[in-house]
């Protein structure tokens, strides 16, 4: 069910209080690990500044760097493809697979292929696609989408996983021990790796100067998928380019620490050619990325390195879950990306934020996420996408506030009348504030009145 209505979906998530709090605590724990890891590096804030600088420099010269990357990759025998949108991306991947007569594919985590909906595209054409990241595998078996970009199954408890694995891969129904379940998935997926004729991976960084791509995982699933079969297809958005190998020093130090608090991912693999007698392809995708470069307000959003730190720190995400966003990427970064791409559909996302600003502080590339969400709200008003009721209410409030005497009069009336009203009248169904909150006690006098009487000219 896709509602595209964050508050409604959030209501569902919050209803299960125990699970909501479990979710909140699990992610808060990750944030705390991130804090500790970042504080172990004295030059942390400088690293963030460097990362933002490198990304901005790259985006400013993206055409140049894409060409440089393509030329250098080609020199290494890698085949480079460009796709302007999701459809073309899927078609390119399918064509490569078909030419190689591939029937079984193992895939490692790639938010881009989620965005392009590659799996259903290939499955419809008779190709088996197995997601190999454990979290992704779990949600794939449950026919769900990832609820987090680094922790795809964070919305599930181990009992849920036990049930799914029991049904799909025949594990013991009552055994929900994470080690047991992980090991069962390992055995199951090992066969998938051995039988696959191609591996599809995402890309964390593509280095213009060297013409290679870097893929970071903890599980080693991308590596298995890219080193066992002869065919490796790496899919990346245009924004994954970085200029030089030495810039990887900055990003490899930031990525895992920001994501999970680890010092680095278990594997940081640099692919600069195919395996022996194999083929390596890179598909570079735009899919509505270039318009960000033309927006002063939102251009920084393209700098994202998909660490997920903004989700872990977001007090709203932690309590509403990733699926409440109904966008391929949830949390603060997803809200700004989604709002920019399709403001009509994702009109509730910029409001799914208390503007606390913690996301911008944890962001390793310093995206001004909270400002962007504030600006999206203004844009929605500009485009007349916010509700008329809200607009008219706000316009009335402004009208009133421009009339201090009238405002004082009405407020005074309210202060005098409200205490006389029966509770049922005050806490009626239209008083959303009062559903779970008492309204403040009404004082006899306003400060303005007190000031006039007691302080003026003293």
């Amino acid at each position: 069910m896709s509602l595209y209505n964050h508050p409604l979906k959030a209501k569902e998530f919050v209803r299960n209080d125990e699970r909501m709090h479990w979710h909140d605590k699990a992610l808060w724990f990750v944030r705390e690990k991130r804090d500790l890891a970042s504080k172990s590096i004295p030059e942390w804030e400088k690293l963030r500044t460097y990362a933002a600088q490198i990304k901005s420099h790259t985006m400013a010269n993206l055409d140049k760097y894409l060409l440089e990357f393509e030329a250098n990759a080609k020199k290494r025998g890698i085949k480079v493809h460009f796709a302007k949108d999701a459809k073309e991306h899927n078609e390119i991947v399918y064509k490569i697979l078909k030419e190689n007569r591939v029937e079984k594919v193992v895939k490692s985590k790639s938010m881009l292929t989620e965005e392009c909906r590659l799996n259903p595209f290939l499955e419809k054409r008779g190709i088996e696609v197995v997601d190999t990241d454990l979290g992704e595998r779990i949600v794939q078996l449950r026919k769900e989408t990832p609820s987090h970009i680094v922790l795809p199954a964070i919305h599930l408890k181990k009992e849920d996983v036990a049930k799914t694995f029991h049904e799909k891969i025949g594990t013991d129904e009552d055994n929900s021990d994470p080690s047991y379940l992980t090991n069962a998935a390992r055995e199951n997926l090992r066969q998938k790796f051995l039988n696959a004729q191609a591996g599809i991976t995402g890309v964390n960084f593509a280095v213009a100067k060297t013409g290679g791509v870097v893929v970071c995982t903890n599980e080693g699933n991308a590596d298995m998928g890219a080193t066992l079969p002869k065919l490796h297809i790496a899919c990346m958005g245009i924004e994954k380019i970085i200029p030089r190998a030495e810039d990887l020093g900055v990003f490899t130090r930031l990525l895992a620490r920001s994501a999970t608090g680890q010092p680095i991912t278990s594997y940081t693999s640099h692919f600069h050619s195919s395996v022996e007698n194999g083929e390596m392809h890179i598909v570079i995708v735009d899919n509505k990325r270039t318009p960000f470069l033309q927006s002063n307000s939102y251009k920084n959003a393209l700098n994202c390195i998909r660490c997920g730190a903004c989700m872990n720190t977001c007090p709203v995400y932690r309590r509403s879950g990733g699926h409440s966003y109904d966008y391929v990427i949830p949390g603060p970064i997803g809200s700004t990306l989604g709002s920019f791409r399709d403001p009509k559909i994702y009109k509730t996302l910029s409001f799914a934020c208390s503007l606390c600003g913690s996301c911008s502080n944890v962001c390793p590339v310093k995206i001004d996420l909270d400002s962007q969400l504030y600006t999206h709200r203004q844009d929605l008003r500009e485009k007349n996408i916010i509700s008329n009721k809200k607009r008219v209410t706000m316009q009335f409030a402004v009208w009133l506030m421009n009339r201090p005497l009238l405002f004082s009069f009405i407020s005074k009336l309210a202060r005098k009348t409200i205490p006389l009203l029966p509770k049922a009248v005050i806490y009626n169904k239209y008083n959303i504030w009062g559903k779970h909150r008492d309204i403040p006690q009404m004082p006899a006098k306003s400060f303005k009145e007190i000031y006039k009487e007691e302080f003026k000219n003293d």
Partner: protein
């Protein structure tokens, strides 16, 4: 030094006690404080709802009202943030606004950074939890946000530490948002309430008797939940403690 006192509209109507405390606190330091009577609202609620375009007139009114003062001081970090950070689009290279922008202070920031006060001569023999409101904490930088790798400082705490017999309790989550967020408190009611309850629980678990902070709006939201749920906690604007007015 002429100080213009800016009182947020809802505080004026609903929390006059905190406003009086702010005024008395400033007067303690022999300042020439004036409350301009024609002031109303900074327009924050409207702007955060997306309607900054509609509240331009309030911004002009604000600047017009306060431009003559050497300092503008307000007991609200979020309203100060509104004026400082979000008025820019309405005033391109406007001298009056530029003056207002640099002379507006949240009251604690003013006491801490401008007056650099060292003494208060007040007592507050209670266990107090400090709620670092997000706008004050992360935008005005009244304290170092826990996410950043920068030296620890907290101007509100520094001021509270001048109060005798006060016990500032440690929270599990030092600077988690309370979930008020302006119209967020209504448009995302379920999340707002959940966040508020968690924030209150953190204070209760640490045996706080009072929650204080520099934003009455956050405190009003938590007070509403505390009263509804009949929890043994009070909220109090930080100026009430610092002025000894409680």
């Amino acid at each position: 030094m002429k100080v213009g006192l800016f009182i947020p509209c809802f505080m004026n109507e609903l929390y006059p006690k905190s406003c009086v405390a702010t005024l008395k606190l400033l007067k303690k330091f022999d300042l020439d404080v004036e409350y301009p009577m024609q002031q109303t609202c900074c327009g924050q609620a409207m702007a955060n709802s997306g309607c900054s375009k509609d509240m331009k007139s309030l911004a002009y009114k604000f600047v017009d009202t306060f431009k003559k003062y050497d300092y503008i001081v307000a007991p609200s970090a979020s309203c100060v943030t509104m004026v400082k950070e979000h008025y820019e689009p309405f005033f391109h290279y406007n001298e009056d606004y530029n003056k207002v922008k640099v002379s507006i202070y949240e009251v604690c920031e003013f006491l801490h950074d401008v007056l650099k006060i060292e003494k208060l001569n007040v007592k507050f023999p209670y266990k107090v939890g400090l709620h670092n409101s997000c706008h004050g904490h992360r935008t005005l930088r009244l304290g170092s946000a826990s996410e950043l790798n920068i030296p620890y400082n907290n101007k509100l705490k520094n001021l509270l530490n001048l109060v005798e017999e006060i016990e500032i309790i440690e929270l599990q989550r030092e600077d988690e948002c309370c979930g008020f967020g302006g119209t967020f408190s209504v448009s995302e009611e379920d999340i707002s309430i959940a966040m508020g309850k968690d924030r209150i629980a953190d204070h209760l678990n640490s045996k706080a008797e009072v929650i204080t902070g520099a934003d009455m709006s956050c405190l009003m939201h938590m007070e509403g939940i505390i009263k509804r749920d009949k929890k043994p906690l009070r909220v109090m604007h930080i100026t009430e403690i610092l002025a000894g007015e409680f």
